[in-house]
């Protein structure tokens, strides 16, 4: 275990769960967890954030990796992703590309290559940005999270992670250990983001969709948006509208209008509330069309 003085905080890097538990039990308050550090390291340096204890999770090597569990009798297959898996690993993973396309599609549009090499999936989620690029894909992939703290583990749907911008429901001593994606062989998924620049840009809004058809009608649909509210959101009215209908551009456009109705975006330096409301239907329709095109 490495220990050293940082700017106003104690830095430590536990190498095992026992060490981590010991640190967390001892620390009274002001714990922050360091994953890739692409946001946190900058914020600590500029003083935007501060903490008493900076706990680096990169010593826990088992938090990295992507693995598939095959479907068994009575149990669907799933893909398990360690929370410290880098964004770049998501981007290039053939398993994800084949079975959960929206996630690598989002991953390859996050930040720069250098950022993607360091940033992690768990970090992107725990950072709780309303436009986190991996959030909308995980929402439509129906992901659930395994959380860990010294007092034990629990599982939550990814939807239940975020409170509002920059704030999760994680306990002070709790981390995301694993992200699990249940597999659904017949679905098509997609991700799109809207921002003025084609790369290295934070989305004004982003969107993901997952679609399944049965006899030409929509049998399963999930739509998620980032930038449409205080946290990444599922668009449940739009989904309910589409369920059972034919997968047509017209229906998708109507779903987009519903999505705008159930959104409550903010005005920020990047875009006004009005601009977001005007483009949510467009992006919703387009991401649904893209998901449809991915259905074999």
């Amino acid at each position: 275990m490495i220990e050293q003085r940082g700017k106003g905080y104690e830095y430590c890097r536990p190498g095992s769960w026992e060490e981590l538990a010991a640190i967390l039990c001892k620390a009274e308050a002001g714990v922050m967890f360091l994953a890739g550090g692409t946001d946190l390291a900058v914020d600590l340096r500029t003083g935007k954030k501060s903490c008493a204890h900076l706990v680096d999770l990169k010593g826990l090597t088992e938090l990295q990796g992507i693995a598939e569990t095959a479907a068994e009798e009575g149990k669907k297959g799933e893909i398990c992703i360690g929370s410290l898996t880098s964004i770049h690993q998501l981007e290039i993973n053939p398993l994800l590309q084949e079975k959960a396309a929206a996630l690598p599609e989002a991953a390859c549009q996050l930040g720069s290559r250098q950022v993607r090499n360091r940033a992690t999936l768990g970090g992107n989620l725990a950072n709780a940005s309303p436009t986190a690029d991996t959030a909308a894909p995980l929402l439509v992939l129906d992901a659930f999270l395994e959380l860990w703290s010294p007092s034990g583990s629990r599982h939550i749907p990814v939807e239940d992670l975020w409170q509002k911008a920059g704030k999760t429901f994680l306990a002070a001593d709790e981390i995301i250990r694993q992200i699990t994606l249940p597999l659904a062989p017949g679905r098509g998924t997609a991700f799109m983001k809207l921002g003025p620049r084609q790369a290295m840009d934070i989305a004004i809004i982003n969107a993901a969709a997952s679609l399944e058809l049965e006899d030409g009608r929509i049998s399963q649909v999930r739509i998620a948006l980032g930038g449409a509210g205080e946290r990444p959101l599922r668009m449940k009215q739009a989904e309910a509208f589409l369920l059972g209908k034919e997968a047509t551009a017209e229906h998708f456009a109507q779903a987009g209008v519903l999505a705008a109705q159930e959104s409550s975006p903010r005005s920020s330096r990047r875009a006004s509330r009005e601009y977001r409301l005007a483009t949510i239907p467009v992006l919703t329709e387009r991401v649904l069309l893209k998901a449809l095109s991915r259905l074999s």
Partner: protein, 747 residues
């Protein structure tokens, strides 16, 4: 001019700085290390306008490892710097005029200690009314940033009878155009190291003008010019943003106070916060033409905000006024311009000195005029284009080197070849520019030293700073051409004030023309001795000799010849040295104070861009798809470098037109970093078709002009006009962000 038969120019050579940069061997200022080196930092104001009630550095000084803290009282010489007007304090004495003004400087053993020391310093302000807009500044009762008035400069240009001409026009178009404050975002933040050796203060700096820096440091230190040495180290771009003093004077003060080398490297934020910005400008224009499209009159009123200090502001206003009617024959012109001081970020030089801003105006007007007349935009421009013999609004008569019409024709030809058939929401736009090379109506000389060595290799010493644009490559090619040697024979030492003569600023697209001419003159001088020696040896008149491809031979009989090594052996035998010193100052005149009549520039560069864009009308996103850009460069010294300049310029134009804007509030920049100030990425860059047009004339070295700034300018209005044409709407404010475009689409 006769057909040019050149041995070196017009081809492509490996840039002189390429190898070191590619291998990583190039040393930037931040890479320099000296024994016992300290680190320096600046304590800056956080308010735009105030006096200092109390400043206390005692806690910082008590920190072990802090070597010194200096304020204005510790300056041995003068405490005012500035490129044109000396109006900026090295360290604040009378009052604070902007967020980021330097209050104190500190040197300490490590960078971390510097930061800690800065946090321990305390300041109390007495706040003054901040002046944050043109309107604020011009109010009679407003607080004054400097002296008695906030009017920094007022200019008036008039020729012909404008009112009478408008009365005769069949068509009049009007528009008020606004461009925003922009940041250069050069890739290397400002940095430097100063040290003292043998009574000389040496400052190694990332800079565009070492010789200017020398003068400012000398005055600050109260030293003669020859006790200060400024060495321009490998510099990661500038675009005008490294013409002002950044770290140089602060470093000299700290090195002098501590007797130790001191290094300063600005963070991206600090660099963007305090380096000069592009002037935001508002231009109200009126253009009148006959029904067959001949422009009769142009009237422009422009206002600009130079921020807290003048920097290069006076050059921007003068150049903007001279250029704002565009590259057209306009018999009646009236321009009025007001630039004001405010407590906003300082504005100064930025690629184009105001011409990019006015190009948005005059090309916006041309686009509107073409529509009003129902004329083809290229035909309209050709009809009105400046050409040899055109009389400018300043009274200057253009010589033969005017290639504007050729750029229009070449761009049009390429457009027919590569542009797509227009779909709905796609648009094609034309943008043009002219650019006077060198400073406006002012002397701006440059010099060069050359020595041909015994083995026929050459040492060339020029003051001109190569900041990546390739001036050293250009000077080497010009020297090789003139001396009849090869490009690889020439070694260039640049921008070291103890070694090289004055070169002036690497700005105003002037170095190829001015340092290039100086280089050529120096080489001609060295060649005199060489030619006399060769003539004696070959027994032919020296006027008959041709120097080319490392040979000297008679134009009458090429068999009468000797090789360069043979010539140098002959020089040695007779005790002759082949040295030369050249200086060149463009043939201009000062402009009349009342009417601005005169000769502002010796030569002009021209350019035409045709842009194809597609607008996503559901999101307001502008997709810049293709840019064709034709430039009259006189003579391309190095074809690949000219094409590189055009491509880089077009990318910057795209940024100007669709992404970039410095957001500031109460004098404070809100987006000083790359994640908030968006410039185009490789993913955004369109297909670019650079076209080189050569109308050489006699003024430049082998006819060369300049392309550094011209490469940027016409792309901006071309993109804007393409968006206008795609949507059938006029746009008066840049950038064309999706949010703004959507507002227009939705009405």
């Amino acid at each position: 001019m006769a057909l040019r038969d050149l041995a070196v120019l017009g081809k492509a050579n490996v840039k002189k700085d390429a190898y070191n940069k590619i291998t990583g061997e190039a040393k930037f200022a931040a890479d320099l290390k000296f024994d016992h080196m300290l680190y320096g930092g600046v304590f800056r104001s956080t308010v735009p306008h105030a006096t200092i009630k109390r400043f206390d550095a005692s806690k910082a000084l008590a920190l072990p490892g802090v070597a010194c803290v200096l304020t204005s009282k510790d300056i041995p010489g003068g405490n005012r710097i500035g490129i044109i007007l000396k109006d900026e304090p090295v360290l604040v004495d009378d009052k604070i005029r902007r967020v980021g003004d330097a209050i104190a400087i500190v040197a300490a053993e490590t960078q971390e200690l510097v930061e800690e020391a800065l946090e321990l310093m305390e300041v109390e302000y007495d706040l003054l009314e901040p002046i944050l807009s043109y309107e604020d500044a011009m109010r009679e009762d407003s607080a004054k940033v400097h002296g008695e008035t906030n009017l920094h400069m007022r200019k008036h240009l008039e020729s012909g009878d404008v009112d009478a001409a408008f009365a005769q026009c069949d068509v009049i178009v009007e528009g008020t155009y606004t461009t925003n404050m922009l940041s250069h975002m050069f890739i290397e933040p400002d940095a430097g190291v100063a040290r003292i050796e043998d009574g000389v203060i040496t400052v190694y700096a990332s800079t565009q003008n070492a010789h200017f820096d020398r003068g400012e440091v000398a005055r600050t230190m109260g030293l003669p010019n020859n006790k200060v040495r400024v060495v321009q180290v490998t510099t990661g771009g500038g675009f005008g943003g490294k013409l002002d003093i950044s770290v140089q004077c602060h470093l000299a003060l700290l090195a002098n106070a501590t007797g130790r080398p001191v290094k300063m490297v600005r963070s991206r934020k600090e660099s963007t916060d305090v380096s000069a910005k592009r002037h935001p400008m508002t231009m109200k224009a009126k253009t009148g033409a006959t029904k067959d499209g001949k422009i009769q009159a142009v009237e422009v009123f422009m206002t600009g905000d130079t921020g807290a200090y003048a920097s290069y502001g006076p050059a921007v206003i003068v150049r903007a006024v001279v250029h704002c009617m565009g590259p057209y024959e306009v018999p009646n012109v009236r321009v009025d311009a007001d630039f004001v001081y405010t407590n906003n970020p300082m504005c100064g030089a930025f690629r184009g000195f105001g011409v990019p801003q006015v190009s948005v105006c005059h090309e916006g007007q041309m686009n509107a005029l073409a529509k009003a007349l129902n004329m083809d935009p290229i035909d309209l421009r050709i009809l009105n284009a400046q050409r040899p013999g055109t009389v400018l609004a300043t009274g200057q008569v253009l010589d033969e080197a005017v290639g504007f019409i050729e750029t229009l024709q070449e761009a049009k030809k390429k457009a027919a070849e590569v542009l797509d058939t227009c779909k709905e929401n796609q648009g094609v736009g034309v943008g043009c520019m002219w650019y006077g090379v060198g400073n406006t109506g002012l002397p701006n000389p440059a010099a060069a030293f050359v020595e041909v060595l015994p083995d026929a290799s050459v040492n060339l010493m020029v003051g001109c700073a190569d900041i990546g644009q390739g001036s050293s490559t250009v000077m080497a090619a010009i020297a090789a051409e003139e001396l009849g040697l090869s490009y690889d024979d020439i070694h260039v030492t640049s921008a070291d004030t103890m070694v090289t003569p004055e070169g002036g600023a690497s700005s105003a697209s002037r170095q190829t023309f001015i340092s290039g001419n100086a280089t050529r003159i120096a080489c001609k001088q060295a060649k005199e001795t060489l030619a006399q020696t060769a003539a004696n040896f070959l027994n032919v008149p020296k006027e008959d000799l041709i120097f080319r491809n490392r040979m000297v031979y008679s134009s009458k009989d090429p068999a009468i010849k000797l090789t360069y090594p043979e010539l140098m052996a002959e020089m040695k035998k007779w005790g002759k040295l082949a040295v030369g010193a050249g200086a060149y100052n463009p043939k201009t005149t000062y402009l009349d104070a009342k009417t601005m009549a005169g000769i502002p520039y010796e030569i002009y560069a021209y350019g035409t861009t045709i842009a194809q864009v597609e607008v996503d009308t559901s999101t307001g996103e502008v997709d810049v798809q293709k840019l064709i850009s034709a430039h009259d460069v006189g003579q391309a010294v190095d074809r690949e470098m000219v094409e590189g300049q055009i491509e880089g310029g077009m990318v910057m134009a795209q940024g100007f037109a669709v992404f970039e804007k410095i957001e500031h509030e109460k004098g404070k920049i809100k987006n000083p970093i790359f994640s908030k100030y968006l410039i185009p990425t490789a993913m955004d860059v369109p297909e670019i078709y650079p076209i080189i047009v050569e109308c050489p004339g006699e003024a430049g070295p082998f006819g060369a002009k300049g392309v550094g700034e011209p490469a940027l300018i016409p792309g901006i209005p071309a993109i804007t006009n393409a968006v206008e044409n795609a949507l059938g709407q006029r746009f008066f404010e840049l950038p064309l962000m999706p949010t703004e475009v959507m507002k227009k689409i939705r009405g």
